[in-house]
């Protein structure tokens, strides 16, 4: 384990490939890196019934530092795809694994995004999203996270920019990790 600071920037390409391979080893069908400056934020809000909303869906309720503004501070990310037959939870698991790997390799600010509404996946039997109650935290810390689409990132454009050519919005789920 290395002491901070991070590995030199010249090694980032190798590290991004390592992350793509890690996601594929964990069940992703395709994975590529992307420069964050190429990601398109749409500004289109998602629909979601009131009784299904969570802290992260349909929009991230983090008003003090809007998440779109923060994500653009990153330079590189990786995007992976899985067949939706594997289920949404698998996207969260791969994202968490890749993000965790970044942390232990001294990319301590790496942040992962998943797919869908975390409440439907982890808290479907609860009456509410606990994180939306003032003074309470998330019931599933370290695994719940916003979806890519809740951060106003266009999935089709993201797949295109990250060379995930077999993307089909009805059959493919995307996850991503912002690395550095």
């Amino acid at each position: 384990m290395k002491v901070f600071p991070t590995i030199p920037d010249k090694d980032i390409r190798i590290f991004l490939k390592e992350l793509c391979q890690l996601s594929i080893d964990d069940g992703a069908e395709n994975a590529n890196d992307i420069e964050v400056s190429n990601i398109k934020f749409t500004g289109v809000d998602l629909d979601c019934p009131d009784n299904e909303q969570s802290f992260y869906y349909p929009k991230v309720l983090y008003k003090k530092d809007p998440i779109q503004d923060v994500l653009t501070e990153f330079q590189n990310a990786i995007v992976f795809s899985i067949n939706n037959e594997h289920g949404l939870k698998k996207v969260y698991e791969i994202t968490a694994k890749v993000e965790s790997h970044c942390f232990y390799k001294n990319y301590h600010l790496a942040v992962g995004l998943a797919a869908g509404n975390c409440r439907n996946i982890f808290c479907s039997t609860r009456n509410s999203c606990q994180a939306m109650t003032i003074g309470k935290g998330c019931a599933f810390p370290m695994i719940a996270r916003p979806s890519i689409e809740a951060c106003n990132i266009d999935l089709e454009l993201l797949a295109k920019e990250s060379q995930i050519l077999d993307f089909n919005k009805d059959k493919t789920l995307l996850g991503m990790v912002f690395v550095n």
Binding site: M1, V70, M142
Partner: protein, 214 residues
């Protein structure tokens, strides 16, 4: 008393309080990054949202920058944690469940975090006695350190006064300060430590606090 002597006295307060090392830095050397506060929220830290200082509450990154601009210098200090304590196998689960583990690992680790809060509070008190303005930051979440045995943060849940106004303060990270970079810039070895960390991989844990001065 000369400024250098005042700062030396303040440093001694930190050392006597239990700091491993203390540095006087310029506020220009404080590293603020929007991504640090995001990291408290995505994925959610088990402590996020529990106190008035931790995201989504507390200072926005822009507010932090505005506060820092009002000060000239800062005392940055570290508290070292023994590797076997900070990598305790039961700490992660205890954190998430908000229940103390039967080996007492979380309670022992909590003592080190409390030390950071105490040292920051002592520095602030000393600085004010010397006629300086001071603004303090600690490490972690004050509800989970100072008010652990209460159900909630009284300020958030009951909209009442804080139980420990002298000790309650934001952590450096909750205000958007990149503690990893600042510790590294101070020449202190700091390691990424999580549930997967084994004590044999990590020589020591390091907690940091900061007090702005002018």
């Amino acid at each position: 008393m000369k400024a250098i002597e005042i700062f030396e006295d303040i440093k001694q307060v930190a050392f006597k309080g239990g700091a491993k090392d203390v540095k006087m830095i310029s506020t220009k050397d404080i590293v603020v990054d929007k991504r640090v506060r995001l990291k408290c929220m995505v994925p959610p830290c088990s402590q996020s949202g529990l106190c008035r200082h931790c995201p989504p509450h507390g200072y926005s990154v822009d507010q932090t920058r505005q506060i820092i601009e009002k000060y000239n210098s800062a005392i940055l200090f570290s508290v070292e944690v023994e590797n076997k304590i900070i990598t305790g196998s039961k700490i992660g689960q205890a954190h998430r469940s908000h229940k103390l583990d039967d080996k007492g690992e979380l309670a022992v680790l909590g003592g080190y975090f409390l030390l950071v809060f105490q040292i920051s509070a002592l520095i602030k008190k000393k600085a004010k006695q010397e006629g300086l303005k001071a603004h303090s930051f600690a490490a972690s979440n004050c509800k989970e350190v100072v008010c652990y045995f209460y159900d909630d943060c009284r300020v958030l849940a009951q909209k009442k006064k804080c139980r420990h106004p002298d000790l309650s303060m934001p952590s450096m990270e909750s205000a958007g300060m990149d503690v990893f970079k600042m510790a590294a810039n101070a020449g202190w070895p700091i390691y990424p430590i999580g549930e997967k960390s084994c004590y044999s991989d990590v020589p020591n844990g390091l907690l940091c606090g900061l007090v702005l001065l002018s």
